[in-house]
Amino acid sequence: MSSNKIEELKKRRQKEIKPKKSQLPYFFFVGFISFIIAYYFLNTNIRYSIIWTIGIMIGITMQRSRFCFAASFRDPIMVGTTSLFRAVIIGLIISTIGFSIFQYIQIGNIANYSLADVPGQIHPVGFHTILGAILFGIGMVIAGGCASGTLIRIGEGYAMQVVVLIGFIIGTVLSSNHFEFWDKLFISSSKTIYIPKHIGFFPALVIQLTALSTLYLLANWYDKQNNIMADL
């Protein structure tokens, strides 16, 4: 293709893009409604008001930064880039510090705390975790997005992700219906392992931060070795 032709195509493409209608009125409308909802909850249920506001901010952040947890796992395998994976690791490092402070406030002074008192996501680990993770990993790659990415794309107007969401709902309802089978097979005999309970609070924190930092450096190295975009 001659460069003239390319220029012509570029101009034509720009013409197609330019007459984009401003959606700012809709922005103000949706923004106003969201604000009203936050305000309404402020007077009825403060917790809901906080959750609502944080959810909106998560949506904006993920949309603006094109954040996608599925891609953070897929890209290193398919194209060799780890920038998204490293961003997730940075997030994990920061939340590890934040979560550890909150957990320490809650249980730091209790000698014999029960696992139910520890705030956060603490659940049994075993073969069910492995099976669930593999199923989830396959699913998110072939569907082109995980749970959070699906929500973001629905907000952006993708009909496809509504289908993914319907599939997700069907799958999760089926699985909860079959839960007794899986529980008796694996879960009920599995242990819940809260790492600080076994090695102490500060060693757990130090080891975890070291592990995450090492993972970050490894990912950085891997990117330099495998990134097929780097040479282009």
């Binding site: 917790r47 959810g55 094109r66 957990q103 680990v125």
Partner: protein, 172 residues
């Protein structure tokens, strides 16, 4: 329009997203006592519909073990997890509308439809086994110092690898 030109239209770098998401998750934990989760909201949506259709989902084994039931005063459609998932969709919508980038995008073909649905079902099925998706069982679980978060992360990689093979073979 001045407002628009003041704020850069370009996407934020990934690491900025990672930092903000971590901070929001920490604020969520400090203010509500529980970390960010998503997939359970999809379960609630599903069983909420079944419940409306007259099926006694509360009797299911799942809802009677491991604190899987709802908190008192909450329903399948009115709870913390459902609220945050709806808010995330609205947040993304607000974000695209601000830059006038909202566009309804239809499904491309039957193949995409099939893999989208199949992928969704696989993901959904996996989440009950692993107690969450890559938010609840990974992004919120590793910072909670629960070993299952690390195991989930490692084996999600295995799954993603298998998924990539399928993608190369049948979709691309």
């Amino acid at each position: 329009m001045n407002l628009k030109s003041k704020i850069n239209n370009k996407p934020w770098p990934y690491w900025v997203g990672g930092i903000i998401l971590a901070i929001l998750n920490i604020i969520l934990l400090f203010t509500t006592g529980s970390a960010w989760r998503i997939s359970t909201s999809f379960l609630y949506a599903g069983v909420g519909i079944l419940h409306k259709l007259g099926i006694n989902v509360e009797d299911w084994y799942y809802f009677n073990v491991y604190n899987n039931g709802l908190d008192s005063g909450q329903t399948y459609f009115n709870n913390n997890i459902m609220l945050i998932s709806v808010a995330i969709i609205i947040g993304a919508l607000i974000s695209v509308l601000f830059f006038s980038e909202f566009k309804f995008k239809n499904i491309k073909n039957k193949k995409q439809l099939f893999f989208g649905l199949a992928g969704g079902i696989l993901m959904g099925y996996g989440t009950r086994l692993s107690f969450g998706c890559n938010i609840g069982a990974y992004f919120s679980a590793i910072p909670s110092f629960s070993l299952h978060g690390w195991v989930f992360g490692a084996f999600m990689f295995v799954g993603a690898w298998i998924g990539s093979k399928i993608l190369f073979k049948y979709i691309l």
